[in-house]
């Protein structure tokens, strides 16, 4: 085997279990002699396993009679999650004045500058999604334990990723998400940012709303302009909790994100 097109087809058939036992034995023998070929098979096997691991169950209602199913439970839990978010927002608005940094942290201004730079660019360019390699490279550039959320449940698509070195030498990751109704959200993750609160804290200014928190040794700034405050609170709470756990959103959170969008008006930035 020398890596031509026919070999690629056979290798794919091999990892899919589509070869006869004689053909599979022949490929296995070739793998033992050819390290590059073995690496290729390993990569394709890893890719196949990852594709299968990427499956997720949608939140759909199964009509047609019979007992209620998990979707009802999921809906109820989503409602509880929404209520919890509203409580958190009320609690935050009440308690935040005691936090010494209630005066907006300096880095928040930098985060808004990054948001503004991306907004100007996205006005002038067609939407585009960063390639997977760009995502990993950007995350690695800023450091370990950086959380980048998948906001597609809220119908927000990752449009841009940038790594920027700030004036004090720290690195910041800017992720810009575009919605389908004019919404733009920025998530800025800054190394260190030790003056930020650990809990989710809301700030408002003329330019828009923002939530900040600290997780995993990084400061997180979530920014939006003209977005329904209730919807933005649900998004902020979801990203905040997920960044603490470093896990993707669970189905209840995805439901809450989807329903908060459906209930909200388009953005008016």
């Amino acid at each position: 085997m020398n890596g031509d097109r026919q070999d690629l087809k056979r290798i794919n058939a091999y990892i899919d279990g589509e070869l006869s036992s004689a053909e599979a034995a022949e490929v296995a023998g070739a793998l033992a002699l050819d390290r590059a070929l073995a690496e290729r098979v390993a990569t394709l096997s890893h890719l196949k396993a990852t594709i299968q691991a990427s499956l997720e169950t949608p939140d759909v209602e199964l009509h047609g009679g019979g007992a209620p199913h998990g979707s009802h439970l999921r809906y109820a839990m989503a409602m509880v999650a929404c209520a919890a978010v509203l409580l958190l927002v009320v609690f935050g608005a009440t308690m935040a004045p005691w936090w010494p940094g209630r005066h907006a942290p300096t880095a928040l201004t930098r985060a808004w500058e990054l948001h503004a730079a991306w907004t100007r660019e996205s006005d002038a360019a067609a939407p585009r999604s960063p390639a997977g390699g760009a995502v990993l490279a950007a995350l690695e550039a800023v450091g370990p334990h950086v959380y980048l959320p998948d906001l597609t449940a809220a119908r927000l698509t990752l449009d841009s990723l940038r790594v920027v070195r700030l004036d004090d030498g720290t690195k910041a990751l800017h992720a810009g998400y575009l919605g389908t109704r004019g919404c733009r959200i920025s998530l800025v993750v800054i190394q260190g940012a030790n003056d930020l609160p650990g809990e989710l804290t809301e700030f408002e200014r003329a330019a828009g709303q923002s939530y900040v928190w600290r997780s995993g040794g990084h400061g997180y700034f979530l920014l939006a302009e003209g977005m329904d405050p209730g919807r933005f609170a649900v998004i902020a709470d979801s990203v905040y909790r997920a960044s603490q756990e470093m896990n993707p959103f669970d189905s209840e959170t995805r439901t809450a994100l989807r329903e908060s969008r459906e209930r909200s008006a388009p953005c008016h930035a």
């Binding site: 031509d4 794919n12 019979g66 760009a134 940038r162």
Partner: protein, 176 residues
């Protein structure tokens, strides 16, 4: 009886969702397609008993729902099944497996052609054999082999591509 049908279709929801995303390339549309597929399947009079036939039947309902939706929206179905499977020289690549993750795979899949997404969805999400996929798509088994091989290569390429952009110099200055 209804509960048994619920449980039977629930076991396929994730795979159907993956396939629906491969067709629609949009999660909300995909969710609607799965919903429509589930409703049709649960209200059907005759349901295949054999598991492989049942799976193919579900995927067929979903595909038809997608084509119906396309007809309503554009007048004609535009599923790209005429993808050229012309032989080309293969490239030998050395790949960093750390680049492959659920996130990069999901992003990568959105950048593939519809035919490439669909063949990956049928084989890797749906668990179709090559022969089953060939029957489902009404193409030769050899075409399934070459299309799948190309689709995985294309997916690896999209994962490998990088477009991290440095901040323009004047904007960096403005941050000071």
């Amino acid at each position: 009886m209804a509960n048994a049908q619920h449980e039977r279709i629930e076991a396929y929801l994730a795979r159907l969702f993956g396939y629906a995303i491969s067709l629609a390339n949009d999660r909300e549309t995909a969710r609607d397609l799965v919903q429509e597929c589930a409703v049709k399947a649960l209200s059907a009079g005759r349901i295949p008993q054999d598991e492989a036939a049942y799976r193919a039947w579900l995927f067929r309902i979903l595909r038809n729902a997608f084509l119906d939706r396309q007809r309503r929206e554009t007048g004609t179905p535009i599923i790209d099944n005429d993808l050229s499977d012309v032989e080309e020289d293969a490239q030998i690549w050395r790949y960093d497996d750390r680049m492959i993750s659920v996130l990069t795979v999901r992003l990568g899949l959105t950048r593939l052609s519809e035919a490439h997404r669909e063949i990956i969805a049928l084989v890797d999400f749906g668990g179709f054999t090559y022969a089953e996929a060939a029957g489902f798509l009404e193409i030769p088994r050899g075409t399934v082999m070459s299309r799948l091989s190309r689709a995985r290569e294309a997916l690896l390429e999209t994962i490998k591509e990088s477009n991290v952009q440095p901040m323009p110099r004047d904007e960096r200055r403005a941050m000071k």
